[in-house]
Amino acid sequence: MSATRPTTSAQKDISMERQKAMLARHFQELSKVRETGRKVAYTFVPGNLTELISEAGMLGVYPEINALQSGMRQRSADFIHEAERLGHNEDVCTYVKCDIGMLTKGNIGPTGEKLPPPDLLLLSYTGCFTFMKWFELLRREYHCEIAMLHVPYAADGQPTEAMRQYIAKQLRNEVIPKFEKVSGKKLDLDSLAARLRRSALAEEDLSWVLESAKKKPSPIDAYFGAVYYVGPIFTAFRGGEDCIGYYRALRQEVKSRLEHGEGPVTPDGTLAKERFRLVVEGPPNWTHFRDFWKIFYEEGVVFVASTYTKVGGLYDRGFRHGAEKDPLLSLADYCLSCYTNLSLPARVDLLERYVREYAADGFIFNSIKSCKSFSAGQLVMLREVEKRTGIPGAFIESDLVDPRYYSQANIKNRVESYLQMLDQRRRA
């Protein structure tokens, strides 16, 4: 019996079309900055200051997203090769190499148009040390303003008041003046606060969508499906009306699936039967995204919760922009609470909670070769989650955008053996 059945066109994500249109508009605006005079900020996803960028009337470019899309469009191998030809080492983060390669080959964005150079390099140094090295490389290529926002690591599980104040102070004294200088526009804090409150509306709907996976069967895949869902809120759109509209539509769609007892939509149709509910830690592979996904949906696996979809904010755990009255402290709270800025024990706690709250049958770690921020310590985390939940976990390895480190056969073998083991446990 096939694991999926055809999805009616009405069920196909309307929200997906909406997202595509938003992205197309964004890239179009980026391609026109010479004429419009709009300024451009390059920045990273975790701890991003999108609302600040929008308040300054600027446009955001997210190098990780470029890398991810290059991976999905099968361009990353070329770009990585180019970066290695320039002397970049095989051992380092492949997002960085992909971006450097793309830059060297003309900086053509996903819509085929050249991306404009940045007017501001906004290094929001959250959750990954390599971001800093990446920006050091970019600053050699561009002669523009640089703003560094140091986000301290929440090493003891909880951010401290000193950390919040430190971030707010940097924003006030260093980052905002750079924005004002580049944009020529004085920042209106009330308007920023209002924008943050708008972000929260979308965050509320996204959280509802992610939490819908608690239902059986789950109407969503909280990993392969959710990487699309988090797109707008993790990047340039948070705080805007488009974003609110997108999440409202998404919620409606998911609600309708839920009412009809429908499972998640996969590339081959709607999942017919939910056989396994899994939690996943780590980013997916982008170069073989569909093949990777297929390994799971063919076996009736639904991911009910994932940590990767929290790198741009832990909205499902209650964080909301604008909940704190002072907008700068609100941004500080956001930066501090992104997933990769959590300590390993806090990451383990979260995984344990996901396994329990989402009634998962098991959990899987996808360890990414080039991402030490995620992968260093994952083996210890895995054992700890096993110990606490009494459920065995699985460990697979791949890479984000370097196809040399993706092996369909190996991963498939491992996943199949793991699922067999879960099946046996269930019968026992």
């Binding site: 080492n89 024990p345 990451r347």
Partner: protein, 390 residues
Amino acid sequence: MSAEQELERLLDRCERIYGDVALEEVKAWKAAHPGRPAIGHLPVYVPREVIHAAGALPVALQGGGDQVDIVRGDACFQSYICHLPRSTVELGLQGELDLLEGLVFPSTCDVIRNLSGIWQLLFQGKYVRYLDLPQALNDTGGLFYLEDLEGLMNDVAARANQKPDKAAVAASIRLYNRNRRALQLLYELRAEAPQLVAADEAFLVARAGGQMEVSAHSDLVETFVSLARKRNRRKEDRIRVVAIGAFCEQPPLGLLRTLERSGCYVVDDDLNLGARWIQGDVEPGDFPLKALSKAYLVQSTWASVRFEDEQFRGDQLVARVKALRADGVIFAAPSFCDPALLDQPPLQKALTDANLPFISFKYAENTGQFQGFREQAGTFSDSLKLWGTT
């Protein structure tokens, strides 16, 4: 005892400390200082003055080198993580670090950062402190760091049953100033007359400080330098190189020896960088912790793990190579070390633009085969000697 015998004795002691994963030196210190704790810290930079002033012995943990068989450490890390964390965890699981009352993890990289969490998970109840060195290199960053230092000071002082004391911090700063000056002398002597101080000797002498009381180490370095000056060693026909990239996981001794046997004098390196991080003396003034915080902002050496603010590292490397009259650069970095490896292309470009030759290779702290390095370094040296270029 002749100067050479004295040097031999001293170097033997340093090599013993280097190879002593059971931290006998620290045990001896603790026996002599009952009730006082020893606090370990990971590379690269931790202001040891603060731990010292709080009444504890700061102990630099630099991995297990090639002396530790990794049994359980490998089960904690994938093959694509550098070697230092796995040997450190191995030592922890073997109980070799039990004598340390706590560990400080500076914000060196994602691996050390996550290692702090591994420690929290594997060694519950142990004091673990993450030290977030400021990447915002301004007053705001300085103030945040100062509060972090106060926290570290209070924590360690509580474990040593002492009251945090300004005068003690000032006194410690002075002791460490002397230590930095002594290490500076050692490096100057090597740059000036590399035949008098071999690369492995400088490494061992500097590294011994990681487990010793600071004054005792300063004595040791000063004695070494004054004895080494008296050596009667002929300068050989070797090229002068600067070795870059080994600031965290340290290469095995055999690798350093191989480099010099292959026709190179290593006239400068970034081994044991943490001990030489602050450039020049720190003036304790009336607020010594503040002085340390300020020193981090304005007196830090350039390093791959610190935000590159105003000056490009490549320019600084070129300036250093020229000032040392070095013939070239050897990039020697641990495998899978993002900070060191991501820095290489821009550094190499700066060298190329300045017409300075270089070679590069990767190692692990437990690398056992040096043939490849010997050939590479030998060819580098031969071609520079013969043609002045590679």
